[in-house]
């Protein structure tokens, strides 16, 4: 225990005493953080927060946590997890305006929550068991419904994912990759709080102090990622590295709205930014100036607060805040901070005083009025966004309750390079795809192009047990658009299988596209990752008030019909003229017969019996017989 305490306390104390210099004996601190700000076209701002720390594998196995979060570490140990990737995503990345994704798409997931991990297990069953433990534990830790990742939402990708960390060959044989996704999970502040708690400085100091739920979840796109992987340097001990990333694209105009007054009321007319060149321009007529024009912003206005110094645990050699704008633009920073330009990357970074607040203001660029065209303006104010390797867009085709289709449009913008990638869909079981309809065709060239799909991995769904897994290895020729389509049939669910909440439809998880690295020399498997948007699948839904009406109605009908039917079946029917007669005529004839007999006795052989009387006698005998039977 003492040893454990000292191991925790010592670095902290020494850091506190000597911070932030590199006084520790080890080469560098185990923790660093960095915020990269990059203005994007259409008045947006990309903010990428990156926090990274590590622990040696031996210390990890000895439950000796320093900067590595203990809560997460224990879960990983308990569930035998070698490598973990967890993603919380909200919104859409607008690739056409914003260009390539940050981190080449490696630090983001599809809408909702996505989790994939390599687990240490001898058998598939053991892996499933550990996966269950992992999802349930993470669900508690991150306040997300990860425990709903059950067998139907779990797949074992065959081609799409490769471990990012260094795994020893002996252990790699026994690791199982499991992948689960919750497309309908709404990411919100309850997920951010546990995320920040994993950081050594929480949200109290350093760049994490800028993170505020209100701004983060008002962003046009945001992604929170946690990646845990073992890293083995060429010399030295293997370490377990945890990287936490938050990327967000803020709409500058929307973020600048004060927190106390978030309603976008129309501004007073004198504040409107009008295009005065229009002939009709007047006090009461205002053609609004282009939205795309760069705006002035500062950390305070965009994030709602200033940065509170630096985290004392961070590695001072990594500068905490960087800004990516053309060199021509001026930036104002608060006193004590130092600007350091990196000429190669068109990036300037700022050294921030440890104890003081840091503020940065990016004013509106000068001379904007002279330049007319939007493109010119953008070229001057912003670094040109990088063109992504591939654009992907997926949507449903068809309508109705029975069948549908999925169409993915894959566009390769490059004029000379072919893109090869793996397209993975994990579909719910109630969406039964027709594999014979999978077809890829190049826009403008009708007919099938079988060469586009090079390899197919298909694992069919099992009703109520397992979803469909479809992985396609495809290629898209240079500067062409490929349509990938397939049809599916919608199953009818049992009525208890509908979720109890409002029936919005069922979310279908994003397709995962992993673009393969053509020259796989640096060990990087994927050159670029992207996800399509998720889809909303409408299944035939009963009107749930109907069953009750039907139950009531059928009960009534059965009660009435059964009563009558039962009566008919059980009663014995005798024709009217066969049964004993109780009408007056019968009575009369009987009496007559009686009297006749008496009269006969009195007056022997004088009057013969009438024919009807005989009949009635006979009838009586017959009915009497039947009664005896």
């Amino acid at each position: 225990m003492r040893q454990f305490l000292s191991s925790i306390l010592l670095p902290c104390l020494s850091l506190a005493a000597l911070a932030p210099s590199t006084a520790l004996g080890t080469s560098t601190s185990d923790y660093h953080e960095q915020l990269v700000l990059r203005p994007l076209p259409l008045s947006s701002l990309l903010a990428s927060f990156n926090f990274r720390s590590n622990t040696t594998l031996s210390a990890f196995e000895a439950h000796n946590f320093q900067l590595f979060p203990r809560s997460l570490g224990q879960i990983l140990q308990h569930a035998g997890t070698r490598e973990l990737h967890l993603r919380f995503n909200l919104g859409r990345w607008d690739a056409e305006s914003w260009g390539a994704r940050p981190w080449d798409g490696a630090r983001e997931g599809g809408t909702g929550v996505e989790l994939w991990a390599w687990l240490d297990a001898e058998t598939d069953e053991e892996a499933d068991q550990k996966w269950l433990i992992l999802t349930n534990a993470l669900s508690g830790l991150f306040c997300a419904s990860l425990n709903f990742i059950d067998g139907t939402r779990t797949t074992r990708p065959a081609m799409s994912f490769q471990p990012e960390g260094d795994h020893r060959n002996s252990t790699a044989a026994n690791t199982h990759l499991l992948y689960g996704v919750l497309p309908h999970e709404v990411v919100c502040t309850e997920n951010l709080t546990p995320f920040l708690k994993l950081l050594p400085c929480k949200g109290k100091a350093g760049i994490a102090s800028l993170l505020d739920g209100h701004k983060l979840f008002d962003a046009s796109w945001q992604s929170m990622a946690i990646d845990v992987r073992p890293v083995c340097p060429t010399q030295g001990e293997c370490v377990l590295e945890i990287e936490q990333t938050i990327d967000m694209v803020l709409d500058i105009e929307r973020s600048k709205r004060p927190r106390g007054n978030p309603i976008p009321r129309p501004p007073p007319s004198y504040e409107l930014n009008c295009d005065k060149s229009k002939p009709y321009s007047a006090d009461d007529t205002c053609f609004p100036a282009d939205y795309a024009a760069s705006q002035e912003w500062s950390l305070q206005t965009v994030f709602g607060k200033v940065m509170k110094g630096t985290c004392p645990l961070t590695d001072p050699s990594v500068l905490p805040v960087c800004l990516q704008v053309p060199e021509s633009r001026t930036v104002f920073i608060s006193n004590g901070a130092v600007e350091k330009k990196d000429p190669n990357m068109e990036q300037r970074c700022f050294e921030v005083p440890a104890e003081a607040d840091f503020e940065m203001i990016l004013p509106r660029p000068e001379g904007q009025q002279e330049l007319k065209s939007q493109e010119e303006m953008q070229a001057q104010d912003l670094i040109k966004p990088e063109t992504p390797l591939l654009y992907a867009e997926r949507s449903f085709t068809g309508h109705g309750q029975e069948r549908g289709g999925v169409q993915t449009i894959l566009k390769n913008p490059s004029p000379d390079t072919e893109v090869e990638f793996i397209y993975m869909e994990s579909l719910p079981w109630f969406m039964r795809i027709y594999t014979h309809t999978i077809e890829a065709r190049i826009d403008g060239h009708p007919g099938k192009h079988n060469s586009l799909i090079q390899q197919v991995y298909y694992r069919p769904a099992v009703d109520r047990a397992r979803g469909t897994q479809l992985e396609l290895r495809m290629r898209v020729p240079p500067s062409s658009t490929v349509f990938l389509t397939y049809d599916f049939e919608k199953s009818i669910l049992r009525y208890t299988e509908y979720p109890p909440d409002a029936n919005r439809g069922f979310d279908v998880a994003a397709a995962v596209i992993t673009i393969l690295n053509p020259n796989n020399t640096d060990g990087k498997f994927a050159a670029y990752n992207l996800r399509t948007t998720s889809l909303l699948l409408n299944l035939p839904t009963p009107d749930f008030s109907m069953p009750y009406n039907v139950i009531i109605f059928t009960s009534t009908a059965i009660a009435l019909a059964f009563g009558g039917m039962f009566n008919i079946l059980v009663r014995r029917f005798v024709a009217a003229d066969e049964g004993p007669q109780f009408n007056i005529a019968g009575l009369k004839s009987k009496l007559k017969a009686k009297f006749g007999k008496v009269a006969q006795k009195l007056d022997k052989g004088a009057v013969p019996n009438k024919v009807p009387d005989e009949k009635s006698d006979g009838a009586r005998v017959v009915s009497g017989d039947s009664e005896k039977k």
Partner: protein, 609 residues
């Protein structure tokens, strides 16, 4: 029970039973029609209510106004400047404005051919991505450049642009918003909606370059009025008489009428005192529009895809300005934005008679069903009758208490001629259907004139044909009527569940067909029936209808062909393939001269001998 069974058996054999069906049919018709006229009464109609609690109409503050009016004026200047420009120039300008707002723009070409005319144009639409949404759902705001009366939708387009800019500032949208500007009111939206659901014919309509998720609702603005308005007119009729969810109409009426204090009107009833005559008029207008099944605005094309949509049209002189109209749309969009699930709670089958009174399908359906049932009853009665021996009038007169001899109760039915004739009539109906939907516009009116005249002569020709070659008996005439009425009753009762009004209109116009029979001995009655039948012939009804509403026949025919070609209106199928064959069969029956069965048999024997 046994007594009941045996008495039922006895009644079945009662010859008086066969005298009942015509009266029963008449009763059905009368009850059906009277039923309809009872509907506007307070006892049979209900007040509307919001069934979907998530909508919360009129519960939000609307902020559209203030300096947005300055922007609106500027956009209106831009729209006015484009008044006489071509579709492409208009779209180029609108695209630059919308891109300036910061939205993505898509364009789509379409070309439709109908009655020799080409309807082509280019749709322009912009997508406002919900800031925190995931592209799974969307709502649409439509403004056609020209409304259905070919007037420039000046304020509507400018309002859509201003609202796009205003909506962009909000971060609360849970669904994407699509702003659609189409060159016309019917073909453009149809092409767009078809392409959105990938149900388009790719040779005529381009696919959409930009898409979002499932459409949850659509609002169209038809705002041509220049001066300030008083009330909002809600147009809700969809293609083929399909209607949007009543909750949508109620929400708009609640927001406009309740929150904004405007008047709300439906079915062009500019003044409505909510008394019986006005309610009845509103309901009948609604039924007529539903029965015709024509698209009534840009919203109509959305409804077949289960996207609830209405068109809003300001009218009257008052003090409401464009901003008020914008606030109505803002309020409606906020309500739609609240939806957690697709609109499904309230009614899809209803008749509105005032903005807050309606009858639901359970109450009004019996009316059309009774009218349809009268044909079926008569058809069954005729079938039974045809199986009984023919009575000689003289014999019947001689023997008043003639009872059906049980040994002779079933007569062999000669099915070939009746079946063949009714089938032939049904097949003949393909000719007018094809002609009126495929002929070029210039020839439509002459074709119609020729067809109307031929239609007068056709029954005589057919009657002459079958009497000369087949010499049908009274039994065969009965069976012709039976089959034709059976088909009519069957079609109309199933149609009543799809398009109540169309079924009722056709049903009521065909009621005389129930009572048509050959009159060999009474030329006066035969002439009367022929005249009556010609007055209710589909062609004649079309002519009379056009003259009552002061429409050109050519316009009506062109419109019908357009509706068939562009948005698949099926009213023409009902007219030509359901109504017209039944009418033809009845007309031929009236002119028929049945041959007594005995003579015919004798003739046949003679022939074979």
């Amino acid at each position: 029970m046994p007594r009941l069974l045996s008495s039922a058996l006895r009644i079945r054999r009662d010859p008086r039973l066969l005298k009942i069906p015509p009266y029963l049919s008449l009763l059905c018709i009368l009850v059906g029609v009277v039923w309809l006229f009872l509907l506007p009464l307070d006892e049979y109609s209900r007040r509307t209510y919001i069934s979907e609690n998530a909508l919360l109409p009129g519960q939000v503050h609307t902020y559209f106004g203030g300096s947005d009016q300055n922007v609106f004026r500027a956009y209106k200047h831009e729209v006015n400047a484009l008044e006489d420009k071509s579709n492409l120039e208009i779209n180029d300008k609108l695209e630059s404005i919308i891109k300036g707002i910061g939205l993505k723009v898509g364009r789509q070409n379409f070309t439709y051919n109908s009655a020799g005319n080409v309807y082509s144009g280019e749709n322009l639409y912009a997508l406002l991505k919900a800031p925190r949404g995931d592209a799974t759902e969307a709502i649409v705001l439509v403004a056609a450049w020209k409304n259905t009366k070919e007037e420039l939708n000046r304020n509507g387009v400018a309002l859509v642009l201003t609202l796009a800019r205003y909506f962009k500032r909000w971060s609360l949208w849970s669904k994407d918003i699509i702003f659609l500007v189409t060159p016309d009111s019917i073909a453009g939206p149809q092409a767009w909606v078809d392409a959105y659901h990938d149900a388009h014919d790719s040779s005529r309509v381009d696919r959409l370059p930009l898409k979002s998720g499932a459409l949850q609702g659509a609002i169209a603005i038809d705002y041509t009025q220049q001066e300030r308005f008083e009330s909002v007119h809600i147009i809700y009729d969809g293609v083929n008489g399909q209607l949007p969810n009543l909750d949508l109409i109620n929400s708009v009426s609640n927001i406009a009428g309740g929150q904004m204090g405007m008047g709300v009107a439906i079915q062009e009833m500019w003044h409505h005192d909510n008394k019986y005559p006005d309610r009845l008029r509103t309901m009948l207008r609604g039924m007529l529009k539903q029965g015709l099944g024509l698209a009534s605005g840009p919203h109509s094309s959305f409804i077949p895809y289960h996207v609830d949509a209405v068109t809003l049209q300001p009218f009257g002189r008052g003090w409401q300005d464009e901003m008020a109209m914008g606030r109505v749309i803002e309020g409606t969009f906020r309500s739609l934005n609240n939806l957690l699930e697709h609109l499904h709670q309230s009614f899809f089958f209803y008749l509105l008679m005032h903005r807050d009174r309606f009858v639901s399908i359970g109450t009004y359906l019996p009316s059309a069903m009774l009218v349809a049932a009268n044909f079926t009853i008569m058809a069954i009665a005729l079938w039974v009758k045809s199986g009984q021996p023919e009575l000689n009038k003289e014999a019947a007169k001689k023997n008043e208490e003639f009872e059906v001899n049980p040994n002779n109760s079933a007569v062999e039915r000669d099915l070939f001629l009746p079946l063949g004739f009714v089938t032939g009539c049904q097949f003949l109906s393909v000719i007018p259907l094809y002609l009126f939907n495929h002929a070029p516009e210039s020839t439509l009116t002459p074709i119609f004139a020729v067809f109307t005249v031929l239609n007068l002569l056709l029954p005589y020709g057919l009657s002459h044909l079958i009497t000369t070659y087949y010499a049908p008996t009274a039994q065969q005439y009965q069976m012709i009527r039976s089959f034709s009425l059976l088909l009519l009753g069957m079609f109309l009762s199933s149609l009543a569940t799809l398009n109540f009004s169309l079924s009722l209109i056709v049903g009521v116009l065909s009621t005389p067909l129930t009572f048509m029979q050959p009159w060999p001995e009474s030329p006066a009655l035969r002439t009367f029936c022929t005249v009556l039948l010609n007055a209710i012939a589909p062609t004649m009804v079309l002519v009379i209808g056009a003259s009552v509403w002061r429409l050109e026949i050519s316009d009506v025919l062109r419109e019908a062909a357009f509706a068939w070609d562009v948005y698949g209106m099926y009213s023409s199928i009902v007219v030509w393939c359901v109504w017209w064959p039944a009418w033809l069969a009845a007309s031929v029956t009236v002119l028929g001269k049945p041959v007594p069965a005995a003579t015919r048999r004798g003739k046949e024997k003679a022939k074979t001998a």
